[in-house]
């Protein structure tokens, strides 16, 4: 079993256990042990956009420095994140301090015990890791092809924007579609795949997020999808839980289960136990829709 560094992030340790366990299990099938980064801290969820702000960068640089030390032990400089927000933050921090070395100097003033960040950590989203592994190779591990399951791929914002961190084309990405096809699923053409779900407004303006969810899920229905697949725990929460608000406001609205793409991978790999999929974490249960493959 090969070892590779894994940054889980806070949400995977709680409400998104279904994302963590299905990611770890699917990687294991491919022969990779995801090794949790020792002493990782929160990524901060959103990156600071103010030029003079360093507070949004420091935690991420600390994580990168820890990864730098751990990479020497493991022998692989790739740091894998599966939560879109974690990926976005770690990657932005890396690019930011590589471009602005003065910022790194300022950050050093706030760090006593950490070593210098040398900049050789390769932050990757799990999808990029899988692409590098080879989608064609993944085909060999599929035991239960998801034949007949119509999936709407949903990227949201943070895998694609800003441009410098995009894992694929910003306007018309295909990486997730290509993976889902390898798993045997039928991918529908989902025009809203890179539109915002409303993000953190879910805390104080959930009606807006309810409207976004109404639009995103209704259009997925219109293009014939059975489920929406995502990688972001915030998109997941908004699209899943906020269907309650969408339904209350639009009585003709039809619910749709939301899944993580890693859950679909686990199912296709024959790993369909409850302790991997955790369907109890879903507001709209995908059990019925996915029954033929469970």
């Amino acid at each position: 079993m090969k070892k590779i560094m894994f940054y889980p992030g806070c949400t995977l340790k709680g409400v998104a256990k279904n994302l963590e366990d299905s990611t770890i299990e699917s990687a294991r099938v491919l022969g990779y042990e995801l090794m949790e980064l020792p002493n990782w801290t929160c990524c901060g969820a959103v990156y600071g956009l103010a030029q003079d702000s360093v507070k949004f960068t420091i935690a991420n640089v600390r994580n990168l420095i820890r990864a730098q030390e751990y990479s020497k032990e493991i022998g692989d400089n790739r740091l894998i994140a599966v939560c879109s927000m974690c990926y976005n933050n770690l990657k932005r921090a890396h690019i930011d301090v590589m471009k602005n070395r003065d910022k790194l100097k300022t950050l050093k003033l706030f760090m006593d015990e950490e070593s210098e960040y040398e900049g050789h950590i390769n932050v990757q989203h799990y999808l990029q890791f899988l692409k590098e592994f080879g989608f064609e190779k993944i085909k060999n591990y599929v035991k239960k092809p998801l034949k007949g399951l119509k999936v709407a791929p949903y990227y949201g914002c943070l895998l694609l924007r800003p441009r410098e961190v995009a894992i694929d084309d910003v306007e018309d990405p295909h990486i997730l579609e290509n993976l889902l096809r390898v798993l045997g699923a039928e991918v529908v053409d989902y025009p809203l795949k890179n539109e915002c779900c409303g993000s953190y407004h879910t805390v104080d303006k959930k009606e807006i997020v309810g409207e976004r969810t109404y639009k995103l899920v209704s259009v997925a229905h219109d293009v014939g999808a059975d489920v929406i697949a995502t990688s972001c725990p915030l998109c997941f929460f908004n699209l899943d839980r906020r269907q309650e608000i969408a339904k209350a406001k639009h009585p003709r609205f039809e619910n749709m289960p939301i899944v993580y793409f890693t859950q679909l991978m686990a199912i296709a790999f024959g790993k369909n136990s409850d302790d991997v999929l955790h369907f109890d974490r879903h507001y709209i249960s995908p059990k019925e829709v996915l029954a033929p493959w469970l």
């Binding site: 800003p162 993000s199 725990p233």
Partner: protein
């Protein structure tokens, strides 16, 4: 629309501050409107993103300080990747928020947040980072 620019907006201190915080030259906007037509949040805004730039270019910052728009922007960066002159509009929205947050203003009171038991940590962390000092 007929209007007169009273002072040189380049010398306006508030505009200068917003440019400094965001690192963006707001005067390079030529009002193509692509940001507003791309914005998934536009329907909930009181001033459209291109209008924000129009006001800044006029040196008319006051309406922006009471506007809903900077607090409706979800920093999804759709406008940022589509802007033909490469402006990072999300950073400008952040600068307008920062101008108020830096005066110790709480847009959201963390103590009044509902549904704490079901909200993912990233939802609360990101919300408080954007909406509290």
């Amino acid at each position: 629309m007929k209007y007169t620019i009273k002072e040189d907006p380049h010398k306006n201190e508030d505009v200068q501050e917003i440019m400094a915080i965001s690192g963006q030259n707001i005067f390079s906007c030529f009002q193509c409107g692509r940001c507003s037509s791309s914005c998934p949040m536009a329907e909930f805004m009181d001033i459209l993103p291109n209008q924000v730039f129009m006001l800044l270019q006029e040196g008319n910052v006051e309406p922006l300080m009471t506007a809903k728009t900077p607090w409706i922007c979800a920093a999804c960066f759709t406008c940022t990747v589509r802007c033909p002159v490469g402006l990072d509009l999300a950073a400008v929205m952040e600068a307008i928020r920062e101008k108020q947050l830096r005066k110790n203003y709480d847009y959201v009171d963390p103590y009044k947040v509902e549904e704490r038991d079901i909200l993912p940590p990233i939802a609360m962390v990101s919300n408080f980072r954007k909406f509290t000092p």
